[in-house]
Structures are given as C-alpha cells and as structure tokens.
C-alpha cells in the first residue's frame, strides 16, 4: 500500500537522492551524474573526503610496529612510529578542514611523517629520510592539488547603484518624469527626459564616461529641471519651448552616439593592435 510509512520514507529518500544527483540538493552535497569527473565542482563545496583520509593508511605497518617496538623496547622505533602516525593524522585533519592553503600544509606534515618514519622508525640515513620526506610531500601535493584549487565561488556582485555624483541627476530626472504629465508640452518633455535617462543609464553602467558627460549633466539636465520648475509654478510656456525641448532631446541622443563612437574607436584600435601582433608572430 502506498500509504505505509516505510514506503513514504523510501519514496522521500529516493526523491532526495534524485535531487542530489541533479544538483538541486543541499549546498555542499555531491551531485554525481552531471558533474565533471575531476576539477572544481560547482557549488563551492570541496570534496576533501576519502582522498584525504586514505593518506594516513599508507602507514598501516606502523600500527603493528608500535606494539612490537614496545615489547622489544625499541625507543627510536616507537618514537618514529608515534611521530609518523601523529603527523599523518594531523596532516589529514588539516587537509580535511579544506581552507585555502590547508592542502599545502597538510602535505608538508605528511612529508614530516615520512621523514620521521624513515629516520627514527626504519633507521635510514638522515639524508635518505629527508629525501623520502620530500617525496611524500610531492606525492601528497599531486593527490590533493586539484582539491585545493576548488575555491568557493565569488560572492554575487551586488546590484550596481548609481554613484553618488549621479544620484542628484537621477533624482532630477525622476522628478521631471513625474511632473511632465501635468504640464504643457508633455510628449516633448517626456521624450527629452527619456533621451537624458538613456545617457544617464550609460554613465551609470560605465562611470569612466562621467567626466565627458559632466557638461551635459550640469547644463542640459539642470536647465530642463528648472524649466519644469517654472512650468509647475504656473509659467506660460514661450513659443520657443518646443524647439528647445527638441534640441535637448537631439543633443542627448548625439551625446550617447558620441560616447558609443569613442568605444567603437577604442575597439578598432584594439583589434588593429592585436591583428598586427598576431601577424608579427606569423599567425
């Protein structure tokens, strides 16, 4: 029967497994079917798992060596085995922590474990012990390097706010748009405000263009704002107002075209430089 509790629990468990496999599970859980076999995994979770904790298992003979050394009274054998096991598990726990640089430090500790094991435990020549320590360090690095590369994803970029210097013009523009429907020459006011808004959007997206548009912001937008103020105060619009508004609209559009033209020229130069470089390299 489908309503039996154990069946419901089983179905829920299978659904959870499917979510994990399709990458929709809890953060840090390993999806399996659609993830790359190696390399950084999406989601920022590091897979410091079996690959880290199997490293100390290379030293399994030392677990037998400890009681044997105790029974035989080999102090150096016991010292080597103890230091080897201790440093190996310290290394694994350090790597399992998974912070930046932990794989490197854990590998160094594993190198120390190998050196102590070879020097004290096995009684190798000190130079040989050092060489084996470097070998174990390199081996651990090779195994864990790509784990260390899996950095957490960068924090999502916060929504871009207009810079402080653009907050005033943006407020002016909002006020013009809000007041225009109640005034004379509404369509022209709105089209001028729209054209200026486009310029302001461009500057917000690319703040490095702001100096070039400073005159526009200081004169045109400010002037339009003052005109709206007077119209709101009940002034009768002069006959030249429609022409002036059309001119403001055209100038805003032309400024926008000019700004884009500069970008196009910069791109042209970049393309030319790169093409020349490639040609010089014979490509």
């Amino acid at each position: 029967m489908a309503t039996e509790p154990w069946r419901q629990a089983r179905d829920a468990w299978k659904a959870q497994q499917r979510r994990w496999q399709t990458g929709g599970g809890a953060p840090g859980e390993a999806g399996s079917s659609n993830l790359p076999l190696w390399g950084p995994k999406p989601g920022g979770a590091r897979r410091f798992g079996w690959r880290v904790w199997f490293l100390p298992l290379f030293l399994w003979p030392l677990f037998l060596d400890v009681p044997i050394s105790i029974l035989r009274g080999h102090v150096f054998g016991l010292l080597g085995a103890g230091l080897g096991i201790g440093f190996a598990f310290l290394a694994a726990s350090r790597m399992a922590r998974g912070l930046a640089g932990d794989a490197e430090r854990g590998s160094r500790m594993l190198g120390l474990a190998a050196g102590f094991t070879a020097g004290f435990g096995a009684g190798f020549h000190p130079l040989m012990a050092v060489a084996l320590g470097f070998g174990a360090y390199a081996g651990a690095r090779l195994i864990t390097d790509d784990l260390a590369e899996a950095e957490p994803p960068p924090a999502p970029e916060p929504a871009r706010e207009p810079p402080a210097s653009l907050a005033g013009p943006a407020a002016q523009l909002a006020r013009i748009r809000e007041a225009a429907p109640r005034l004379a020459e509404t369509p022209r006011l709105l089209s001028a405000a729209a054209a200026m808004g486009s310029v302001l959007d461009d500057i917000t997206e690319r703040p490095e263009r702001a100096p070039e548009a400073r005159r526009f912001l200081a004169v045109h937008l400010d002037g339009l704002s003052r005109i709206v103020d007077r119209l709101e105060a009940g002034a009768v619009p002069p006959a030249t107002l429609p022409d002036l508004l059309d001119t403001l609209t055209r100038s805003a559009e032309r400024l926008r075209v000019d700004l884009r033209q500069q970008e196009t020229e910069a791109l042209d130069i970049q393309v030319k430089v790169l093409s020349d470089r490639l040609r010089q390299e014979g490509l």
């Binding site: 003979p61 080897g84 490197e104 190998a114 435990g121 190798f124 690095r141 090779l142 195994i143 790509d146």
Partner: protein, 45 residues
C-alpha cells in the same frame, strides 16, 4: 579563543599540465615509495 588566520598565498600546483588521473597515480606511487616503504622497513627492522 579566536585563532587569527594568516592569509595564505595559494601555492602553484605541481605538474599542472599533467591530467588529474595521471597525477593521482604518480602521487600514490610516490607515497607508496616514500611513506609505505619506510613504514614496512620500520616494521621489519
């Protein structure tokens, strides 16, 4: 007690152009030679 973590410079990977499975095999081989072998030698000393 709050441990103050020193910012760490990420270390460059060893043999970056080697494909990962080969790196793992080489790493396991090195660990076998440099970690397991001395441990066995210590056992039979």
């Amino acid at each position: 007690m709050n441990a103050i973590e020193r910012p760490r410079r990420p270390s460059a990977p060893l043999l970056p152009h080697m494909p990962p499975p080969l790196r793992w095999v080489l790493g396991v081989g090195l660990l076998g030679l440099c970690l397991w072998l001395p441990a066995v030698a210590a056992l039979f000393r």
